[in-house]
Symmetry: C2
Subunit: 251 residues, 2 copies
């Protein structure tokens, strides 16, 4: 497969074959991903690879019991980690100043970049991945189960395994929706409607709207999938957890 | 080149040949990257591709005049963007609830994942990239120059061009520094010292320490590169800017 085809044809994989991923292979993919760009070469992340059934069973409710948690071969929790680096500073007669919002954002970006390079490296070896966005919702409980110290915060989770199916083409917006030349080109209402029209016309979108008894696909997002109430609730949960892990927010 | 070699041998490229990247090629790479995983298939990001000399000249000081801003063929500012999606909701008789911290974190992850997939896709086509971490520091000014509307926040910038050199192998920590099996394995002091020893022994690290008249490599980070004073200053700048762009923080 050419790289071009790889990128456009990659799919999220949620169903896995009962096939073991060797520790050596997992370590090789982590090694490949660790060469992804990282701020000041600080590598401000950790990844926790969980296979043990009892720990996965504890984590499953944190991910609202999405089946891929128990069915995957390895569950990977990617964490923003300024702990390791700060401890090295202290041991080197240096005073770390990384317990703040700017530093948290830096670890978050480092972690997401590392996770995505892991995902790409794994997919290029024929493995299948699914990101679990539930990680930030239930970060406090995940942190307790995985025994995270201060300055370590769960950011995202990937379930990993050999694919049992080929996934579904979810489609994407046209390029003109996301690429702006020179400066941000703000959209007219007509452009917005046009950019999302292909997505709305998909059969799976129409089914979502009908099954949920909604008037539009957008209402499935706002009223069911990502509601204001849930977003505001989990905003406070994650914000307070980040603070409790030692990152001070500005006044 | 095999994929394995690609991942481990990729390098940050800061020097570019005077060779034009066609718009068609740029759009193809954006298209490839847009197939990266994204939360709920919402694609909560925009990328602004700047080539115009006058706009790059305005952006350069925001990136502390790093030469790659002016020398690259295209400067790409990756922005967290809940504006486009929220406007689609309003136009679809749906009430978006995405002006909060949880939603901001979601856009941040979506944007970093997209940026990294862009970086990988570009590198696999022989182009060279450098992330500019200065983006969060000077987000308010960048937003003004690039005319970003509400709910759009600069997250990171990539300078892109055909490589003029092969970059430098900056080295990485051993895998055992970042990979934890089953649960987080907190480090002993001896382990921390051991994990960073190879990094400290590098010739370039020793030069940094000597040139800056410091006692340890860690002091170069804490006293010069990423100081508490700067981190706390830019924490407030970025935090306040996120709020001014319409994301409400929890009480």
């Amino acid at each position: 497969m050419t790289n071009k085809r790889f990128f456009e044809e990659r799919r999220t994989i949620r169903k896995y074959a009962p096939r073991h991923i060797e520790d050596e292979l997992l370590a090789e993919i982590v090694k490949e991903a660790s060469h992804a760009p990282t701020t000041g070469n600080m590598q401000l992340y950790s990844v926790i690879a969980t296979r043990a059934k009892d720990i996965k069973e504890m984590l499953a409710p944190c991910h609202f019991n999405q089946p891929s948690v128990m069915e995957c071969d390895v569950l990977l929790t990617f964490c923003a980690d300024f702990s390791r680096f700060s401890r090295w500073c202290v041991l080197s007669e240096a005073n770390p100043g990384y317990d703040n919002f700017q530093s948290f954002v830096t670890t978050l970006l480092d972690t997401a970049i590392f996770a995505q390079q892991f995902c790409t490296a794994a997919e290029m070896r024929g493995l299948g991945c699914c990101y679990l966005g539930t990680t930030t919702y239930n970060a406090p409980k995940i942190a307790e189960i995985l025994r995270l110290p201060s300055l370590v915060v769960p950011v995202t989770t990937i379930s990993l395994g050999y694919p049992a199916d080929s996934g579904v083409d979810a489609g994407r917006l046209p390029i003109s929706a996301v690429l702006h030349m020179e400066q941000y080109h703000d959209y007219t209402d007509e452009e917005i409607i046009d950019l999302y029209s292909e997505k709305e016309e998909r059969e799976d979108s129409k089914s979502f709207v009908e099954e949920n008894n909604k008037k539009s696909l957008a209402q499935v997002f706002t009223d069911i999938r990502y509601t204001r109430e849930a977003n505001e609730h989990f905003s406070k949960v994650y914000y307070d957890f980040i603070v409790s892990q030692g990152y001070t927010m500005p006044d």
